[in-house]
Each structure stands twice: as structure tokens, then as C-alpha cells.
């Protein structure tokens, strides 16, 4: 039973990495465990004919046990990627789950039907025990020790993925894919990496299980087994490795194995097992209803400076007027994130030029041949009535919307063909009209995750561990705290972003964009719905950033703000640029008045 605990634990950890941490509802996970078992079996078994010929299977390489386990784990990693590819299609989440479920049932059917691969429904037997050389009397305990060691090692490796900057960025992707792309994260790459690692854990689990049991057949991995693992994770706590341990103890071990020890009814020996599954189903439903976060919920680190006085909060004087005003921005500037904001040439050349941009939705031309430029080191306004195509232009520039025609030149380079996350890495950072915070992360983590080029997110960072990225992380945290102070939100640093007020979320949206090291900041109606005090703070911050050399393209309805901030304002109506100039001048132009008041 301890062996089952260990192998279930490995599998549950892998699935937790995929589902709990990275948000991929992999209902086909058990297929990967099964693949691990099968490949371990066929790598260790001799050629079919030499094994008595009563079962048919591929390979039969009689490899050493350690090699077989490693190979099985690797193959499962690859299969995990393959299954992950299906999840990359932007289907609705429950559709993805359904695809996975279908894959799971399909796999059982194929393997069960075919006799040439893994001996069909009869399954494989006589799978060599990895500890064949150990005296059978003690083998059980040795096996427990081996599995325990693998689990311990697995846990240590897993920590590198689920904690630190890497775990943070995975959770960010889980919470909001688009927002993660907007700060330059390669969501596809991250998803595939997670699927691969999850696959390796599944493979290890399967290989160790098959070696212990000595046999493996389709009945051992029906799709319901994935639910057992999912239930373990949900009960224990989504995204929490320790919670998963508890969940595995409770669900597959205590419930599914434990029911075997209930008094047996002679006429129906399978009744106990059925009861186990029924309890499991009820438990799942109960937890989704009553405690969806699990027994031990996901924890987030505390990174805000303890004991920040509350007066630094919403009531602090507006930035720019108070004595603490201009100081923090230079402090932040000195840190990593904002240094890129200073333009190299310091001139007034356009940093962005958009030429003949067209975007059609169905028959409607949302953007219809728009051309304009945004100066380097200043704020360019983009205004126009509802439906003028402003937000679409922002989407086109940031890469979230594909243009039907037109050129987008950023800093002398044509970026129209680049995916959004690559553009973000060049420094085109957007905010969203409706704040898209990473809800389950703390406010400060929302900022940290946005920082570009973190070593802690790289493969090297993960391999080397904390010592490589710890200093970077401290510096980033300091910069993030500086930003929070600048926006008067220092006291919210360790609060989950989902709990912030609407106005604070808007501020966070802007701060996160700043952390991403923008060279051109695209702000999509940042003032909408902000209380006047916050709006003023944000306005002052924009001015300071522009003074410090940042280029900003500002979409805003509050035209007073636009007038105060922007030297040049671009007016759009019905997908076209109808006028360009300083706001005061635009106000007197007839075409602008018509566009606004007549509509």
C-alpha cells in the first residue's frame, strides 16, 4: 500500500503541476501513467518469443531496469507534449477537458483492441521487478524504500517548478493567458514544458507501479483513474504540493484501497470497490461545492515589506505634489524594470508608425486604413467616439489582433508579423480596458511576474536553483515595492489581486505593464471608472514617466486628461484617422465635433 501511495503521489504531483498550477485540465493524464507502465514493461521484458510466446508486444529489449525507467519517463514526457498540443487550440476549457477525456477512452480502446502493441485487453504479465535480485521476503520493504526515495527526489525537483519565479509565471498563465502574453511570456512554450514534466512524473509513476505489480492491462487505467487523481488534488488543495500529499493519502489510498478492508460480502466481492468509487464521486462533488480550494489551499509568499504604515495607502497625497513624489520614480528607474524606458537617441523621432492598418470583422471594417505615428519620449493620445476602432488599433499594435493589411513599424523594425509575446519582449506593452489581474497571485507577485528576462524562469534558473536568481528576485521585489509606493498601494502588496477594488486593479494593470519594461506603453482607457483621487495619481504618474523618457500611446475617453497629458492627439472615427493635432486645436475642428457629438 505504501508503494501505491508513492506511485499515486508521483502521478498526482505531475497532474497537479498541469492542472493545479498551470491550469490544464488533463483528463487524459492516466494515459501517460499507463504509457509509462507499458514502456517500462516492454523495455525490460525479453523478446516475446523468448518469453514463452503467449503474449504479443513490441520491442522486448531486455534493457536494464534503470534505463527502462528513464526511457519510459522520457517517452511519457514526449507524449505529454503531444497531448498538450491539443490543449493549445483555443477551445473553451470544458471542450479541452472533453477532448482529453475522449483521448483517454480512445487510448484504452486502441490498446485493448490491438494485440500487437501491448497484448490487448489481456495485458502484459511477467514484467520484471526492478528488485529481482533482492530476497523476495524483504523485497516489499526495499521497494517502498526505492519508491520513497524517488518521491523525495521528485518532490525536490517539483518544488523548482511549482515555487519561485517559474511557478509564479505558470500560475499567471493559468489565471489569464492573454495578460501573461501581454507581458512577454511565451505561453505555448510554458504549457509544453509543463506537459512534458507532468508526463515524466506520470511515466515514473507508471513504471514503478508496473514493476511492482508485475502486470499491466487496460483495466488498470480506465479514465475514472484520472478522476481519482483529480479528486486527490481537489481534496488536498489545487496547486499545493503538500496538500496533494494529503489528498493522495485520503483519496486513492484511504478510500479506494481502504474499502478493501471493509467486511466482505461473499456474494458480491466487488461491492467494496464500487463503494470506494461512489464515495470518491460524492467527495469530489462535495469539495467543488463547499471547499473548491481544498483542505490546504495554495499559499503565496509574503513579499511586501512588513509593517508598511497604512498612510501610504489610498489617502496619501497625490504623487508629484507630495515630497515623496518624484523621488520614487528615479528609485524605480535605477532598478531593473524601467531602465529601458530611456530612449537611446533622445530625439523626437517616432517610435511607432502605423501605416494603412485594416482590420475587418465579418463585413465590418473595425479599422479601415488607419495611419499615424507616436513620438518617442512623449504621450500620444488616441481618441474617438464608441466603435471608432481605438481598442482594435491597440490590439493590432500589441499583436493580439492580426491585421488584414497595413504596416506596424516599431523602432525601425516591422513587427506586424510577430506574435504578441515577442512584441512585448521588444517593449510594446499593453494594458487591458477591463483589468485582467492574475487573481490568485498577490499584488506584488502580479508585478514580479511581469519583469522581463528573469533567470528564475529559465531552464538554467531551475536547474541551478535559488542561489542563481535569489538576488535578481530581491532586486525585482524592491523595484516592485517602489512602484507600489509610487501608486500608493504599498499596503496591498501581499493581498491577492482578485480581492483588490476595481480602482486598485486598474492601477495594478498599469503597474504591471511598467514592470514589464515597456519602451512603448499602450494604455487602454486607464482612467475609466477610477475614483478622482486615483485618476489624479495615475495622471501624475503618466506625466512623470513621459518626463523620464517613456513613450506612451494613450486611449482615453476623459478628454481633459488627454489635453493635459498629450502633446499630439490622434482622433479616430469609424475606423479611420480623421484628425491629428494638439487637443485644444482639435476641439475647434468641425470634423471632430461632428464625430463626437453627432456620432
Amino acid at each position: 500500500m505504501l508503494v501505491y501511495l508513492g506511485t499515486d503521489l508521483l502521478a498526482a504531483w505531475g497532474l497537479n503541476l498541469e492542472f493545479g498550477v498551470a491550469g490544464v485540465a488533463n483528463f487524459a493524464y492516466i494515459v501517460l501513467v499507463a504509457a509509462g507502465a507499458y514502456f517500462y514493461a516492454v523495455f525490460t521484458l525479453g523478446p516475446p518469443a523468448a518469453m514463452g510466446g503467449f503474449q504479443q508486444y513490441i520491442i522486448g529489449a531486455r534493457l536494464p531496469v534503470a534505463v527502462a525507467v528513464a526511457l519510459a519517463a522520457l517517452i511519457c514526457g514526449g507524449l505529454g507534449c503531444l497531448i498538450g498540443v491539443t490543449g493549445l487550440k483555443r477551445l473553451r476549457a470544458d471542450y479541452q477537458a472533453m477532448v482529453m477525456l475522449v483521448i483517454s477512452i480512445l487510448a484504452t480502446t486502441i490498446i485493448g483492441a490491438d494485440t500487437g502493441l501491448f497484448n490487448g485487453n489481456a495485458g502484459l504479465s511477467l514484467i520484471p521487478n526492478p528488485l529481482a535480485s533482492v530476497n523476495p521476503a524483504h523485497r516489499g520493504w526495499y521497494y517502498v524504500a526505492v519508491v520513497g526515495a524517488v518521491c523525495a527526489a521528485g518532490y525536490l525537483v517539483l518544488r523548482r517548478f511549482t515555487t519561485g519565479p517559474f511557478g509564479r509565471v505558470l500560475r499567471a498563465v493559468r489565471e489569464d493567458e492573454d495578460a501573461a502574453i501581454a507581458v512577454g511570456k511565451n505561453v505555448v512554450g510554458l504549457r509544453l514544458a509543463v506537459q512534458a514534466v507532468g508526463g515524466v512524473y506520470a511515466g515514473l509513476s507508471g513504471a514503478l507501479l508496473a514493476g511492482f505489480i508485475g502486470g499491466w492491462s487496460p483495466s488498470a487505467w480506465e479514465y475514472v483513474e484520472t478522476l481519482a487523481l483529480l479528486t486527490a488534488i481537489i481534496v488536498g488543495g489545487l496547486g499545493n504540493d503538500a496538500g496533494v500529499l494529503l489528498g493522495v493519502v485520503i483519496v486513492p489510498v484511504l478510500i479506494l484501497q481502504g474499502v478493501q478492508f471493509l467486511p466482505q460480502i461473499k456474494s458480491a466481492p466487488q461491492l467494496a470497490g464500487d463503494l470506494g468509487w461512489i464515495i470518491l464521486g460524492l467527495l469530489t462533488i462535495a469539495f467543488v461545492f463547499a471547499r473548491p480550494q481544498g483542505l490546504i489551499p495554495e499559499r503565496r509568499p509574503r513579499l511586501g515589506v512588513p509593517g508598511v504604515p497604512a498612510e501610504a495607502g489610498a489617502l496619501a497625497p497625490a504623487v508629484g505634489t507630495g515630497p515623496a513624489g518624484p523621488a520614487p520614480i528615479t528609485a524605480v528607474q535605477a532598478g531593473a524594470p524601467l531602465t529601458r524606458a530611456v530612449p537611446g537617441d533622445g530625439g523626437r523621432a517616432p517610435i511607432l508608425s502605423v501605416d494603412g492598418l485594416v482590420k475587418r470583422y465579418g463585413g465590418v471594417r473595425a479599422v479601415d486604413g488607419a495611419s499615424f505615428t507616436a513620438v518617442a519620449g512623449g504621450i500620444t493620445g488616441l481618441i474617438g467616439p464608441n466603435g471608432a476602432g481605438k481598442s482594435t488599433v491597440l490590439g493590432l499594435v500589441s499583436g493580439f489582433v492580426r491585421p488584414d493589411a497595413g504596416r506596424i513599424t516599431f523602432d525601425g523594425r516591422d513587427v506586424a508579423a510577430l506574435p504578441a509575446h515577442r512584441r512585448a519582449r521588444f517593449g510594446i506593452i499593453r494594458t487591458f480596458q477591463l483589468p485582467r489581474e492574475f487573481r490568485a497571485l498577490t499584488t506584488i507577485e502580479n508585478l514580479l511576474v511581469a519583469a522581463p528576462g528573469q533567470r528564475g524562469e529559465s531552464a538554467a534558473g531551475m536547474a541551478a536553483g535559488r542561489w542563481l536568481w535569489r538576488r535578481d528576485e530581491d532586486e525585482l521585489a524592491e523595484a516592485a515595492r517602489g512602484l507600489l509606493r509610487l501608486f500608493g498601494m504599498a499596503d496591498t502588496a501581499d493581498k491577492r489581486a482578485g480581492r483588490l477594488s476595481g480602482g486598485q486593479k486598474r492601477m495594478l494593470e498599469v503597474m504591471r505593464a511598467l514592470m514589464a519594461g515597456p519602451r512603448l506603453l499602450l494604455l487602454d482607457e486607464p482612467m475609466a471608472g477610477l475614483a478622482p483621487a486615483l485618476a489624479e495619481r495615475l495622471e501624475a504618474a503618466c506625466r512623470q514617466l513621459a518626463d523620464a523618457g517613456m513613450s506612451i500611446l494613450l486611449v482615453e475617453h476623459e478628454l481633459g486628461v488627454v489635453e493635459r497629458l498629450c502633446e499630439t492627439v490622434v482622433v479616430m472615427a469609424q475606423g479611420k484617422v480623421i484628425s491629428t493635432g494638439p487637443m485644444a486645436e482639435l476641439r475647434t475642428r468641425k470634423e471632430v465635433q461632428d464625430a463626437y457629438v453627432v456620432g
Binding site: H557, L559, V592, V597, V598
Partner: protein, 250 residues
């Protein structure tokens, strides 16, 4: 609130200090509105002022955090939409029709609460108001133009003979010519037939030319409430929409 409104004994629709929004963020704050029978009241204001949220708050679709909505003096705050239909409040949202249904079926659904005979009779009355729809009864709405769809939507809302009609930007996406005709021939005509009409409109001038009274909403608050002609003529109008000095107080 103007004295003309106060003269109405019990307004068909009113809000009293309504504060509402989504989650815990108020989008509209302390809004007072009154719509009497036969009156077209326009709510105008720049984008993002909270116009649509105000409607949704009245109709129980946004979270009301304070204040009340009243229909004929009866408290309707937070009532579900299907109950409001029974209380004589019709609603034409921006996404306003059943696309996969025929025009006749849209009207039929509009009269869902009526008995069969009443429904057929009422459909004849509504078709008399919108004769253009008669020849299109068997068309699926998804195949129709923007103006025809809006006509279908308003006709559908009329099926229950509501005392109050709430319209959310009925001219969104329509051309300038169509805008004029929808507002004049359909929306204003509703008020002329005795309905109390609350109209939220982005195209302020067009709406103000036809409305009886108007409220100007800025940043979730009513900054001006007066006869529409007065609002239209006021110097502040251009400022409200195009910004300018001193509007944002400390």
C-alpha cells in the same frame, strides 16, 4: 430635478439615489431619474460614464449597492427581469433579438405571457405600428439589416404593451440616416403613443433633439438634468463631450 417632473404624481419609472456597479465597484453613484407616461427621457454622456450600467441596475442586471428603482411607485430594486416584464417594463438591450428565430417568432416570444388569442390580436396591433415587418414575418432575424433588426426588437418589446420601455443605445452600429429615422419614427413615436421611454444614447445630439427631458451622466453621476432642448442649447454640452476646463473638481 425639474419642476415638470415633480408635477407627475407617481412616475411610471423612477430611480432614487441609485448606486450600482459590478463586483464591489460602483459605476453609477446616486442617480435620480423620473420618467412619466408619454415622456421620452434621454440619458446621454461620454463613453464610460455609466449609462448602460444605470439601465442594468434598474433592470436587476447589475449589482445595486444603494438607492432604489421604482415603477409606478412600487419598489423594483433587484427584481429579476422576467418579473419586471410582468410589471409592464419592456427592455431592448443592445443585443436585442433572437437571431435564430423568425420575425414572427420573435414577436410571438415578446407576447409569451399572453394567451393565444390575445397574442394574435396584439401582434396585429404591433404590425399596424410597424407595417414594414408584415412582409418579413417569415424571415429569420439573422438575415436582416440593422434597422430591421431594431424594428423587430422594439416591436417584440411592445408585444406586452409595457407602460415603460427601456432602450439601450438603439442606434448603435446604425448609419447617420438610419439613426435619425429609428429615433424619430420608432423611439419618439413610442412616447407619443403614451409609453414612458427611458433612452440611453451615445449619439447625444440626435437623442436630445427628440427627447422631452434629458439627464447628462458624467463619471457615473448626473451633472445636468433639464428639458432636452435646454441641454442641447447649453454651452456645457460640447464641453461635457469634448472636455475642457474645470469640470473635474477636487
Amino acid at each position: 430635478m425639474s419642476s415638470a417632473d415633480a408635477a407627475e404624481p407617481v412616475p411610471a419609472l423612477a430611480t432614487h439615489q441609485l448606486t450600482a456597479g459590478y463586483g464591489d465597484v460602483p459605476v453609477v453613484r446616486g442617480v435620480d431619474l423620473t420618467v412619466g407616461e408619454g415622456q421620452l427621457v434621454a440619458v446621454v454622456g461620454p463613453n464610460g460614464a455609466g449609462k448602460s450600467t444605470l439601465l442594468k441596475a434598474i433592470l436587476g442586471l447589475a449589482r445595486v449597492m444603494g438607492g432604489r428603482g421604482l415603477a409606478d411607485g412600487r419598489d423594483i430594486t433587484g427584481r429579476p427581469l422576467d418579473q419586471l416584464a410582468r410589471l409592464g417594463i419592456g427592455y431592448v438591450p443592445q443585443v436585442d433579438v433572437f437571431d435564430p428565430l423568425k420575425v414572427s417568432e420573435n414577436l410571438n416570444m415578446g407576447g409569451y405571457l399572453l394567451g393565444k388569442a390575445d397574442r394574435i390580436a396584439r401582434m396585429e396591433e404591433v404590425l399596424a405600428i410597424f407595417p414594414a415587418l408584415r412582409s418579413k414575418l417569415n424571415r429569420y432575424v439573422s438575415t436582416m439589416s440593422g434597422g430591421e433588426r431594431k424594428m423587430t426588437a422594439i416591436a417584440r418589446a411592445l408585444m406586452l404593451s409595457p407602460r415603460v420601455l427601456v432602450l439601450d443605445e438603439p442606434t448603435a452600429g446604425l448609419s447617420a440616416v438610419l439613426t435619425e429615422s429609428v429615433l424619430a419614427d420608432q423611439v419618439r413615436a413610442l412616447a407619443d403613443r403614451g409609453h414612458a421611454v427611458l433612452l440611453v444614447e451615445q449619439k447625444a445630439q440626435a437623442a436630445l433633439r427628440l427627447a422631452h427631458t434629458a439627464s447628462v451622466l458624467v463619471r457615473g453621476q448626473v451633472v445636468m438634468s433639464a428639458p432636452a432642448a435646454e441641454v442641447l442649447a447649453s454651452r456645457e454640452m460640447a464641453e461635457v463631450f469634448l472636455g475642457g476646463r474645470g469640470r473635474r473638481q477636487k
